[in-house]
């Protein structure tokens, strides 16, 4: 790719000076080396240093730069700039309070993550060496532990929009299943009790938006299904 100019439409809001959010039309000339959307908005920021967004790793592992890109949630650092229709419309993740520009308040998202007790529970005295786990049992954790907590999924989930305080949401439920699926964890019953509630788990209506947007190709819906299976099996 050579130099080219791309057009943006970006959601802007600075509570320190703007009464209302607005959409800003702005364009930027990219260098040949600018390949990802993140490269482009970093370049844009050299023109207008007030454009605010989170970013860190630039390689899709830290989960900082989730945003709504042409109507779909994704990571700026993993999105090819040249494949996007212009003007490229950027908005903050939907459903969470906006702090400024593309930066949302993630408190509710992390509260739900914390609510599933996201840590291994094993009350046996710690052995001197590692707890053993077969490669097959370990494989059960694949597709679960890789979550980067970017919130692309939960903020595309209608059930989470309507009940962010009550519905755990896909990311939190994926994490819940990550511990349920771990042969080393002993809190299966407590974990299921914690989700046995009309909202916390059962607000998921299998709309699959979460699967569609996950930048790590994880499948929260499948994890949610497995938790539901465990509930059913426990009940009989």
């Amino acid at each position: 790719m050579s130099k080219r100019t791309v057009q943006f439409k970006i959601y802007r809001y600075d509570p320190d000076k703007d009464a209302q959010p607005y959409m800003q039309d702005i364009s930027v000339e990219l260098e040949a080396s600018d390949k990802k959307l993140l490269d482009a908005i970093v370049r844009l920021k050299t023109k207008d240093d007030s454009l605010s967004f989170r970013r860190s790793c630039r390689e899709g592992v830290c989960g900082s730069d989730a945003m709504n890109i042409n109507g779909k949630n994704g990571l700026a650092c993993l999105t090819d700039i040249d494949k996007l229709a212009q003007p490229i419309t950027l908005r903050p993740l939907p459903g969470l309070p906006v702090i400024r520009d593309l930066i949302v308040d993630m408190t509710q998202f992390f509260k739900q993550y914390h609510s599933i007790k996201p840590y291994l529970v094993n009350n046996d005295p710690a052995p001197e060496r590692e707890r053993l786990q077969t490669p097959e049992d370990r494989e059960e954790l694949n597709g679960l532990y890789e979550c980067i907590l970017c919130a692309c999924c939960s903020t595309s989930c209608p059930s989470f929009w309507w009940n962010p305080d009550k519905f755990v949401g896909p990311a939190g439920l994926l994490a819940a299943y990550r511990f349920l699926a771990d042969t080393r964890d002993q809190a299966t019953n407590e974990r299921l009790d914690n989700l046995e509630d009309p909202y916390r788990l059962f607000r998921c209506h299998t709309i699959m938006n979460c699967v569609d947007v996950c930048p790590k190709s994880l499948n929260p819906t499948r994890a949610i299904g497995k938790i539901k299976d465990m509930m059913v099996r426990r009940a009989v």
Partner: protein, 597 residues
């Protein structure tokens, strides 16, 4: 301006691997602890570590800490302190097993133990053959580790201050450390965190270079804060260039790829490492591999239209192995190099990766500085661990997987020392000087009012280009001398940066300007220390210190077997001896020898 004050037993700056491991020690001991971090903890750059964490568990091949110690000392080109190295390698099994107990999803061997893979510079029987020492969770070890540590901290109820940036270290007239000032990004408010103990775990500063495997946030804040407050920086001339960054993008391809059997090839398809390191070949130490690659490229055997990179080939591995052991690498390669490594080799170049130097500490995690003729006097109330610290276990060149180990061992050790000092009553809350926040407020205020100055991104780019050109994989006498002049000029521009954004709320322009103040300290320290060290050792190789019979590999132990100390004030240099004596009598000192692989 009114500055809020918060009081704690301990404040930890940084929530990467080192900060989180230290925090666990303090939280579980019941100390009132604040952990400050610029980003949500799991977004710290430890998350990007791929290949593994070293421990001589011996799950797949015979292994023991003596061999690990030998490899680490040799890897460091004898600049590492042997007491700290012995401490680290002997603690390795304990801290890795602990991590497994915390829930870390390590890959497993067929008999259910932690999976281990070979890694560069790690060997069996004192250099004879590669050993399987790197404990791994696929090629996402850092992610798995950081999340496990964060999760354990959730269990321990650790108190985090997320998206708070520490600005300056607070010291009293005796030089004791009393805490930090910090700015809350969301509000722009500055607060004082007053504490009996302050632990820095702020990570590396790889962003001083133009091409780097490091995240945007790796701006050396802890190192910069320490330097500005009069603490010397140790061995800053030693930077690791990782052999395999994706050409053009900088994103890392782990050495674990070569551990799983990957091979480096030049334009004619030759496995050139056989010529440079007949024993360990592609798994020689990083500095050796990086220099071999640059030599191939410089001598016209590079690949691609510009002959500016080499190829990392794993097409001979089975797709199953690649999908199982290297799934993240495959994603990265497709995303950033545009090639699927199952089908075609990955274009790679040496890329700035890791800072061996940093804030000087001892193996207990106490920050030490020269005082009254003693080079290693603890600075009261101040501790550091992880990439920002220099213990010094990595010396002139770090072995892969020894950094994640360093985070665990010295994060824990710093935490333990604070808890001990706290319990023995050695730590007290010393009164804050009246001007405790003045320096920070002045920095913020300057950015509010600066006009006619320089743009932050221009100055940063000038710094990065200067470092890349003048202090790269190979170093040249003249380029280093010019580099010193250039970087001091850039530092002058950094004093007058200006920003257009004046908002109080989440002002990232201001954050970047404040970060640049730290980066520039690191850049000056690196260039000035490098220009001064007139030998080749580990990652620091100069044209005027070639391989001769008198000085094998260009190393000059008679004059340069010593640690550099750089002081920001006046750019003064000082030196201190390397500790060649192990911690215990269980092991003999590893005697000086020429490094070959």
């Amino acid at each position: 301006m009114n500055v809020a004050k918060r009081t704690f037993d301990a404040v930890i700056v940084g929530a990467g691997g080192a900060g989180l491991r230290a925090a666990l020690q303090l939280s579980e001991a019941g100390l009132k602890t604040a952990v400050l971090t610029k980003v949500f903890p799991t977004r710290s750059h430890t998350v990007a570590a791929q290949g593994g964490v070293a421990a001589s568990l011996g799950n797949s091949t015979e292994d023991n800490w003596h061999w690990h110690m030998y490899d680490t000392v040799k890897g460091s080109d004898w600049l590492g302190d042997q007491d700290a190295i012995e401490f680290m390698v002997r603690k390795a099994n304990e801290v890795v097993i602990e991590l497994e107990h915390y829930g870390m999803p390590f890959d497993r061997t067929d008999n259910g133990k932690i999976y281990q893979r070979p890694f560069g510079g790690h060997s069996m029987n004192y250099g004879q053959a590669p050993v399987m020492r790197s404990c791994a969770a696929a090629d996402r070890t850092g992610h798995a580790m950081l999340h496990a540590l964060y999760q354990r901290n959730v269990r321990a109820n650790t108190q985090f201050f997320v998206e708070w940036m520490a600005l300056d270290l607070i010291r009293n007239s005796e030089g004791d450390v009393l805490g930090v000032t910090a700015i809350e990004m969301e509000t722009g408010e500055v607060s004082i965190f007053h504490a009996k103990a302050t632990i820095f775990a702020t990570g590396g500063a790889g962003r001083i270079y133009y091409s780097s495997t490091n995240a945007f946030i790796n701006t050396g804040d802890g190192v910069g804060m320490a330097a500005r407050s009069g603490i010397p920086l140790e061995d800053m001339e030693f930077w690791q260039f990782h052999p395999t960054g994706v050409a053009g993008a900088g994103v890392l391809i782990t050495e674990g790829v070569r551990g799983e059997g990957g091979i480096l090839r030049n334009a004619s398809g030759e496995r050139f490492m056989e010529r440079y390191a007949p024993n360990l070949k592609d798994l020689a130490s990083r500095d050796v591999v990086s220099r071999s690659m640059v030599t191939e490229i410089n001598e016209g055997r590079g690949c691609g239209p510009d002959k500016d990179h080499v190829l990392l080939d794993i097409t001979h591995l089975s797709p199953e192995t690649i999908m199982k052991r290297l799934p993240g690498i495959r994603e990265i390669s497709i995303q950033f190099a545009g090639v699927d490594p199952i089908k075609a080799p990955i274009p790679v170049v040496p890329t700035c990766h890791y800072q061996m130097g940093g804030i000087p500490t001892n193996y207990k995690g106490q920050v030490v500085a020269p005082k009254n003729g003693d080079s290693n006097v603890p600075v009261a109330g101040f501790y550091a661990a992880g990439e920002c610290a220099c213990a010094s276990v990595h010396g002139a060149n770090r072995l892969g997987t020894n950094s994640l180990l360093d985070l665990l061992v010295f994060g824990k050790s710093a935490g333990e020392t604070v808890v001990e000092d706290f319990k023995s009553g050695n730590l007290t809350l010393k009164p804050l000087p009246a001007d405790a926040a003045d320096v920070s407020l002045a920095r913020i205020n300057r950015l509010e009012t600066q006009t006619g100055g320089s743009e932050v991104h221009d100055v940063r780019l000038a710094m990065q280009r200067t470092m890349q050109k003048h202090a790269g994989v190979f170093r040249f006498k003249e380029l280093l001398q010019e580099g010193v002049t250039h970087i001091l000029e850039v530092a002058e521009q950094a004093k007058v940066t200006q920003i257009a954004d004046k908002s109080k709320v989440w002002n990232t322009a201001r954050t970047e300007a404040l970060e640049l103040d730290n980066l520039i300290e690191v850049a000056k320290a690196t260039m000035i220390s490098a220009e001064a060290r007139k030998e080749s050792r580990g990652a620091h190789v100069r044209d005027d210190a070639p391989d001769t019979a008198e000085h094998p590999n260009g190393r000059d132990d008679q004059n340069w077997l010593k640690h550099t100390l750089w002081y920001s004030e006046g750019n003064r240099l000082d030196y201190k001896p390397v500790n060649l004596k192990p911690l215990s009598a269980d092991v003999e000192p590893i005697a000086l020898a020429k490094r070959t692989y």
